[in-house]
Symmetry: C2
Subunit: 194 residues, 2 copies
């Protein structure tokens, strides 16, 4: 057994993730996935129950890793500002390492939430909100963040700008994900005004 197990299966999941990210979940047909893999559509059902279970597995695996990282940051003894910076850096790292998964979560969550089996996505959204609000509140309590801003709005601006970068960021481009994260942090923290 040279492969770690489930090799072909994982291969198919990666192909599906690429298509889901590019064209959307509903706009990707099982024939699209099978064609990209060089097999017939029916053969996919030897590996997976349904198209839904493919995207389910893709998202669950990704989110476990991402939120594990957020939890580590919150549990660390870094100061509030460093924690906020870490969270932004980790997020841009996720965009770099898991483009497809981030794009799927960003673009398809609303649609997938219309199915019961994806209700956990709402929990993850809530969890994400709590992470960022906690980071911001800690910064305010420590006196390193402005107190005159609407917390909820600030959270949304941060969340949106971080994740929406997945729509234009390409690995191997002019800027590394770390450089982009640092520029973003610079704007977020200090503003663009002189």
């Amino acid at each position: 057994m040279p492969e770690p197990e489930g090799s072909r299966r994982d291969e198919l999941l990666e192909i599906a993730a690429g298509l889901f990210a590019e064209k959307g979940f509903k706009n990707t047909t099982v024939r699209d996935i099978a064609d990209s893999a060089g097999i017939l559509s029916g053969s996919l059902y030897h590996h997976f129950d349904s198209k839904e279970s493919m995207v389910d597995e893709i998202l669950r695996t990704f989110q476990e890793e991402l939120f594990g990282q957020y939890d580590e940051i919150l549990a660390s003894d870094a100061d509030p500002l460093a924690q906020l910076e870490q969270a932004v850096l980790v997020s841009f790292e996720a965009i770099d390492k898991h483009r497809n998964e981030v794009a799927i979560f960003q673009n398809e969550a609303a649609y997938l939430l219309t199915f019961d089996r994806f209700s956990y996505l709402a929990d993850r959204n809530q969890q994400s909100r709590e992470v960022w609000l906690t980071l911001l509140q800690n910064g305010i309590d420590a006196g390193v963040l402005r107190t005159d801003l609407d917390l909820e709005l600030t959270y949304r601006f941060i969340r949106d700008t971080v994740w929406v970068a997945v729509s234009w960021y390409r690995p191997g481009g002019r800027r590394t994900h770390t450089e982009i994260a640092r520029q973003y942090l610079s704007i977020l923290l200090e503003g663009i005004h002189t």
Copy 2:
């Protein structure tokens, strides 16, 4: 003629825009639109050539208005910072007044661009890029904006954060679109750091 003309047609376009914005263009069927209008799907083809021509008309009308406003700002004699602020305010106003149209342009442009008839959307994207880059460059030349930032990245951050607000902004919510725009400008210009 009590109606300004094309009343029923406009009504159908608004219904379609709402569905396109909510579920996506391809995920909205002509039967969805017809059901929402209380007619049969075939009856839509009395008013429109195709589903494509509906979204086409929706986007063209909206973009003419929006880019007209940008042109006015650029042509005004306000100082660079005021022009940048005006552009942000006008954009949030568009999110308020034309939620559906903004959402469709944001979410469906990539897909629609695969059809020849929507190639003008690429021109509009380019035009938008030029507007923001001009505003930023004018600010730098006037010495009111930081010179150490990557212009292209800054443009993307502004564009993304402004338009992505359409995904969560709801008219009649806790904050008016003007309040949101002002908070956003405050963060963008001054940062969240103390």
